[in-house]
């Protein structure tokens, strides 16, 4: 049996979670005595193959076809499902990104396989896999098993360690029939700017109602840029129209787990904590000393964020 890792790329650039998934696949393959195969789907992706070899894939498989230049769930899932049908792997892994989660679910739907989404831990013992996945947006952790010969799992970004490894095998091609997509991609609009993607960021600076208005986010953006961080938001600030929903962290937003989460002017409602409670370190800045954020923050500062944030930003720039 093998482990298949579907490595996500866009415009020929592999996502960080692709390396995380391959590293985890390699670790599990060693535990289970299996081989790991990395599958890349796209067009003009030869360079991805060379990059993935650094992480010790026993085989790198490229489904390289012009018809796959634009991502559509249908075509990519058809390729993945065809590879799974050919390979009959014990396990199929990929990142729980916006694209990865729907791709995994559609391919698992075609293959009639079980899928545990958004895993934070996978164990192999007594010949079977066990999956841990936060439920109720992290208010509880469920332990799951999957029946059937092939199991699918998506991995929460920023949780699994990346490790380079030896033992890379050949790069081979995979050319299944590609169905005609029912969806046409008319345009892809990238959010401008150099800030990292929220779910993959090592550091996130978030703001809430305490910022007082949309202009308050300038303080958060300046702080984020001094740290190379992503910018997040509480639900209150999104509902007030100060920030786009794509930035919302919490139960009805994104679930993140950076090394450092700086919450400014965020009270710390249960729904928000659910979305960032697995951050390694939390800093809370709030003028209300009783704010719930101080019950979870590793470092808390009670005070006026309008005074604190500019000083913090300057200090970090010097550092």
């Amino acid at each position: 049996m093998s482990i298949v890792v579907c490595a996500e790329q866009r415009d020929g650039k592999l996502s960080k979670v692709a390396f995380e998934a391959l590293s985890e696949g390699k670790r599990l393959a060693a535990a289970a005595g299996d081989t790991v195969k990395a599958l890349v789907i796209g067009s003009g992706i030869a360079a991805c193959g060379d990059e993935l070899k650094k992480y010790g894939a026993d085989e790198v498989v490229l489904a390289d076809n012009e018809a796959l230049a634009a991502y559509t769930t249908e075509t990519y899932a058809a390729v993945l499902a065809a590879f799974v049908a050919q390979e009959s792997p014990a396990l199929v892994l990929m990142g729980h990104s916006t694209v990865g989660r729907e791709l995994a679910a559609r391919a698992a739907g075609i293959a009639d396989c079980g899928l545990v989404s958004d895993c934070i831990e996978i164990l192999f013992a007594d010949g079977d896999y066990t999956f841990k996945h936060p439920i109720y947006a992290g208010k509880a952790i469920g332990t799951f098993k999957i029946s059937g010969a092939t199991r699918f799992a998506t991995l929460r970004p920023n949780v699994f360690a990346i490790a380079e490894a030896d033992g890379a095998g050949a790069v081979v091609d995979f050319a299944p029939e590609i169905p005609e997509a029912k969806v046409t991609v008319k345009a892809v609009n990238k959010v401008s700017g150099d800030r990292p993607e929220l779910t993959e960021a090592d550091i996130i600076c978030s703001g809430g109602r305490g910022l007082g208005g949309p202009e308050g986010f300038k303080l958060i953006e300046d702080l984020a840029d001094s740290l190379g961080a992503a910018v997040g938001s509480s639900r209150a600030a999104v509902d007030a129209g100060w920030r786009d929903h794509a930035a919302q962290v919490g139960q009805t937003g994104k679930v993140v787990s950076p090394n450092l989460y700086v919450a400014s002017g965020i009270s710390g409602a249960i729904q928000h904590l659910a979305g960032m409670g697995t951050s390694k370190y939390i800093v809370g800045i709030n003028k209300d000393g009783e704010a719930n954020i101080f019950n979870v923050a590793d470092y808390g500062i009670e005070g006026d964020l309008n005074k604190i944030l500019p000083v913090l930003t300057e200090k970090l720039k010097e550092a």
């Binding site: 698992a108 739907g109 029912k182 999104v238 800093v283 604190i308």
Partner: protein, 259 residues
């Protein structure tokens, strides 16, 4: 137009999670709501009917209790509801739910033009049913959608991707999974609530659908659940602004080693 919205009843997002003696999550005393993302789906279905005419059918897999969420959707303005309720679906995973929904939608409720769902449910956070259902019905899927224009048998949608958005176009029938921001969800009016009581709500079993318990056997089983390790309050830094900021930077560097 035949407009369908698939919904799930979930725990209130404010609910505190309690693990019962059986190691599973207890629903005792928990307030149940229409899954927040599914509210956008129901709203969009009703808006579509108001613009283009037709019928709005709400569908769910659930228990007797789920009728509340269906009645709520009817009170918002949907026309009728179908609940798939069967003991064999008590612990249904995303696979089982999508098999049951697909059978209903390709048989008794065939002929839909568009299906709306939420992009995920806030309880299991699996985000699988829209993709699995679209695969089973072999129709186009637009997932995580924040904008829709339906015209001439086509859908033009805006959807979120990692680090941006995409503009997609597809022929109907299609499945559209709603993200927050798609619309402003209405509250049921009092007349709406009164009317909803008399609107049709059909309950069907697996046998009614021509499915066996084996057809909907779950692939994924939750063996147990636990509460995450509680975070503890750390240290509060006090003093003048310059002083606390210097202290914070030092701690982040030397103790946490995160910058």
């Amino acid at each position: 137009m035949k407009i369908v919205a698939c919904i799930k009843q979930t725990f209130d997002t404010e609910a505190k999670i309690v693990i019962g003696g059986d190691g599973q999550i207890s629903d005792e005393g928990v307030n149940m709501i229409l899954n927040p993302y599914d509210e956008y789906a129901v709203e969009e279905a009703i808006k579509t009917k108001e613009k283009d005419g037709g019928e709005v059918v709400i569908i769910s897999v659930g228990s007797d209790k789920t009728q509340e969420a269906l009645r709520y959707s009817l009170a918002m303005g949907a026309d009728r509801a179908v609940l798939i309720n069967d003991p064999a679906l008590a612990n249904a995973d995303s696979h089982a739910v999508s098999v049951a929904l697909a059978k209903l939608l390709s048989d008794k409720e065939a002929g839909f033009d568009v299906i709306f769902t939420g992009k995920e449910a806030v309880d299991d956070g699996a985000a699988q049913v829209p993709s699995r259902l679209a695969a089973k019905l072999d129709i186009a899927l637009a997932n995580v959608v924040t904008g829709i224009e339906l015209a001439d048998g086509k859908a033009a949608v805006t959807r979120e991707i990692d680090g941006g958005t995409e503009e997609l176009e597809m022929a109907l029938p299609a499945l559209i999974a709603a993200q927050k921001g798609l619309n402003e969800v209405r509250y049921p009016s009092l007349p709406g609530i009164m009317k909803a009581k008399r609107k049709p709500l059909d309950v069907v079993s697996l046998a009614d659908l021509g499915l066996s318990a084996e057809d909907v056997a779950s692939k994924v089983e939750m063996v147990s659940a636990e509460l995450p390790p509680a975070r503890k309050a750390g240290q509060k830094l006090t003093g003048e602004v310059e002083e606390v900021v210097a202290k914070l930077v030092e701690l982040l560097k030397d103790e946490a080693k995160v910058i």
